[in-house]
Symmetry: C2
DNA sequence: AAAAAGCGTTGACAAATGTCAACAGGACAG
DNA sequence: CTGTCCTGTTGACATTTGTCAACGCTTTTT
């Protein structure tokens, strides 16, 4: 169960963990199974742990006054879920996170993770690389949001995230792009 | 000239640097003055250093096919400028960064900064906190972009970034919000 | 098997936002 | 001082996108 995580760490850091370090990681990261539609976090909750997705598919979304959902993030295998703001500041989250497919997670609490960073430098290294990747991706997404038409945003999305296109339905992708499902449907029709 | 940076580091880390560490920081961070309108980075350049804004105002923006500018980031005193993606990956930048007011920077090259992180742990700590703040802010901005109307995005912007409203003209703020200057002008008129 | 919920599509129409052109005042450079 | 550029505003109009309702189809639940 933890091996996916070890592989992932190795991939990001070119470092192999000692057996001792592996044991520490196994102690800190707890397996958690979520059935489809089950919440990992609900609006108002404080996000007390981060999760590493071993298998499955999850989404993070906000709900507006009218009850409409807006997908802020998708997460598949080998990616992380959790609301960073709530996690870092210990404030009630603005978001919901739930499983879109049955999902296996490895969750780690903040205190344990901070301690691990000292014991397993490779983990810290990995975290920084994750942050880097994340900040580059969000920068591009913001640029797309303010610069591109809906059509162009969708084209870029398909090119950069074909995995998401396969695993999530169109109305979620539309919401991720900041448009309605009807508009996305028309864009797709036109693009043929 | 470097004292603003020391104050900033202290504020973020509750750590005071030793004289030795201060000397190392002074060696690595080079003062750079930019006149209004002068480029720090142009599209296609590789971003070889990050800058800490001691005084002044800068903006990072992209230019679309039609020649329209889209502001991706503003930076005032005590904030950082540079294109993270280009800096991290050593790829040509998609953005331009220029001074909106006469600006004093402290710039630091990647290799020097990485070395400093080892010598001055407080700097590393600060960098991580910066990344955290940045990722929380961008998450909110993305959520606003996909969830809110232009009017609401502007209201939130004014509330969260009054400094920007004072120092940058409306057409730049409009572009930051992903709308045209005419639309912003109408929103402001209506909001009275 | 039947019913319900989820998904994608379409049409008619409404609302939001963009585009283009013009204008006015202020800042600024020659 | 004078002209130019920058900024913000306004109006008329075009385009994009959203809203609402309906439909067919599949999947899930009962």
């Amino acid at each position: 169960m933890h091996s996916a995580l070890f592989t992932y760490i190795a991939q990001y850091t070119q470092a192999t963990l000692t057996e001792e370090q592996q044991a520490l990681v196994q102690q800190a990261f707890h397996p958690k199974k979520l059935r489809k539609k089950q919440y990992l976090l609900q609006e108002g909750d404080i996000c007390r742990y981060m999760g590493f997705v071993v298998s499955g598919a999850m989404r993070q979304y906000s709900v507006d006054e009218k009850g409409a959902e807006h997908v802020v993030q998708f997460a598949l295998e080998n990616w992380w879920v959790g609301d960073r703001e709530s996690y870092l500041m210990l404030t009630p989250s603005l978001y919901n996170i739930d499983a879109w497919e049955d999902t296996q997670l490895l969750v780690v609490e903040k205190a344990d993770l901070l301690q691990l960073y000292e014991q397993v430098p490779a983990l810290l290294q990995m975290a920084r690389q994750m942050d880097d990747r994340h900040s580059m991706a969000t920068q591009r997404r913001i640029n797309a949001a303010i610069s591109f038409s809906a059509e162009k945003r969708y084209a870029e999305f398909v090119e950069c995230h074909p995995e998401f296109v396969q695993r999530f339905p169109q109305h979620l992708i539309a919401s991720y792009l900041g448009i309605t499902k009807e508009t996305l449907s028309r864009i797709r029709k036109q693009a043929l």
